[in-house]
Symmetry: C2
Subunit: 359 residues, 2 copies
């Protein structure tokens, strides 16, 4: 039930759709680059499968297609960006660029963002730093689907952390991970195959661990990285909390259970504690610490040593963060991006509604 | 088999011992404050139980009791500190202070440290930022005891992450966690009680998960947070790797398997890739983003909301990172710090050797 589409096709379709809802050429192009990079890198849940979700939020008046994104406060190494309700896919690259410019002058740059929306994959924004010989950091909060350790209530999003670090001969180190045991996209795969989830991924509405892959839809919650207290879920909870606070309490966005839902059929809290959702970006010039060549040479040594570690039986090799996504991107650039039939139908209908042909 | 000692008693004994090995009054006092704060906060594995370990490293010439700690490179928001082989317990507060001073001017300060040693609990250093209305961050690499996902070899330390965030009426948010499922100290408790470890904490020398609480001593390894691939151990591995790279590849310290062992009977690698072990510190002025009162008011809201979440059955309440340590500190300041008989004997012998009475 899979059909392959070229990267260029999906990117152009996304641009055309976003222009139809009023985005400028430039914004539509930036947003499409971010969105479709998820499909390229294998994070299918965050790519074109979400395009109609963004459009539905725009229809509800919850996304501003022509935002005036601006820096509202700054110091030599920090800034706050107001996204003016724009697509996170556009607000985030703007804010990351501010962090990069700050780092050029001050050594590092740190930007907290309010009044934004979902920003695609965290890794895209962190990786923007690489070409400048900088380390990039990208965090975002998200709609509450996760229960802290011992909590029956859902209070946090899957709040991802991405860190991108340049090397020389070796490809860069790129971590990009939800602070939950498993991302929601992995549950969707199990749901489609009618399989159970491992214990430690999900709890039921009473807060009891369950193997039901539909447990979150039934009112349960995703679990923080670690899964239960004995396996360190208080650490995953703390990481998700730090992402929430850096992204939203620093900037003035909504945090915790107040983060507006991504799905258009759920209304945001009528008594918000801030504006929109929040992100946090960092850029550190490696030569603000030591000469870039030296740093990147040692990163090569680091990566080579870890990649050549003796693997456990049954495994081919030890991976470096970013390896699987990069390998998949190489394949998908050549062979195309496989989409499921329901996604193809959804995009076809979206195109019909807005007067853009998907086929 | 426990006997209680006052905080002041353990602190003074530590000061006296460190002066006997040649530390200045000032350095001995700083180091004792850091070391014994671990006992106060319940991280017994990182407190006075380690004092004789530090002395053995000094006897081997691997700790410099009179270091000339200095900034070797800097930009407005960054610095590299050379610890000159000093006690990490002294080098780390020096470096964190540099980060705080940078933040006063540039909004944030980021300091990577080389040529240091083990620095006690990560949380002590992060919490130094709180009185300045700053967010504090503290990372360190450590002797290799942890196997990356799919690796038979031990390549990383327990590489902790601490983040301390000020609030107003509420006590601060203080996360302080190893990037492994469980810290080594938790295994030691199980060893003493002759209990098994949960699966997901340890693997055996072949890389097979084991419940043997002595598995690491037998040549196995601690496992990254997550425990196995299905439960996200690649995320714990990535976090430990980021800590290693920020602490050591940025500064010029040893990283990965080259980090010198804490135990004096194991020799450091004869072909090091850097100097000593490494740390990384950050300080962010909250008013580099928004007025401090506003930020701290919202932190109160955040903390109250999470603490009042409906708990799952069988649990009293949802905890905020830092709650358990703070509650234990209040008790131990009043009732004293309980030490195990072997620790008391070890400290008594140490005192006899150096001419300081422990009793």
């Amino acid at each position: 039930m899979l059909m392959n589409f070229t990267y260029e096709h999906l990117r152009q379709f996304t641009i055309d759709i976003l222009k139809k809802i009023g985005c400028s050429d430039k914004d539509a192009t930036i947003a499409a680059d971010v969105l479709v990079s998820a499909d390229l890198r294998g994070v299918d849940s965050h790519g074109v499968a979400r395009l109609s979700g963004y459009v539905r939020l725009w229809e509800k008046g919850r996304i501003n297609a022509t935002p005036s994104i601006r820096v509202t406060y700054e110091t030599p190494s920090t800034a706050v960006v107001d996204g003016d309700g724009g697509l996170g896919l556009v607000v985030a690259p703007f804010a990351m660029q501010v962090a990069i410019e700050k780092a050029k002058n001050a050594g590092t740059g740190w930007v907290s963002v309010k009044n934004s929306n979902h920003y695609g994959i965290a890794g895209y924004h962190a990786m923007m730093a690489l070409e400048h010989d900088m380390i990039g950091i990208s965090l975002t909060n998200a709609s509450p689907l996760v229960s802290p350790t011992f909590s029956k209530e859902r209070l946090l999003g899957t709040n991802p952390i991405s860190v991108a670090i340049p090397a020389h001969e070796q490809p860069p180190f790129v971590a990009d991970m939800a602070t939950t045991t498993a991302a929601n996209g992995k549950l969707e795969i199990l749901q489609r195959k009618n399989l159970e989830a491992p214990l430690g991924w999900v709890q039921d509405p009473q807060g009891v661990p369950t193997t039901d892959a539909n447990g979150v839809k039934k009112g349960g919650a995703l679990l923080p990285l670690g899964g239960d207290r004995d396996h360190g879920s208080h650490k995953g909870y703390a990481l998700g909390a730090i992402v929430d606070i850096f992204s939203a309490v620093l900037s003035g966005a909504n945090y915790g259970p107040w983060v507006p839902p991504f799905v258009a059929f759920l209304e945001p809290d009528p008594n918000p504690v801030g504006e929109g959702l929040g992100h946090f970006f960092g850029a550190m010039r490696v030569d603000a610490f030591r000469p870039a060549d030296e740093f990147k040479g040692h990163m090569d040594t680091w990566i080579s040593r870890f990649r050549s570690a003796t693997p456990v039986e049954g495994q081919e090799k030890v991976l470096i963060p970013g390896d699987p996504e990069r390998e998949l991107e190489a394949i998908r650039r050549k062979e195309g991006i496989p989409l499921l039939q329901p996604v193809i139908e959804d995009l076809t209908q979206l195109g019909e509604k807005l007067g853009v042909s998907f086929s």
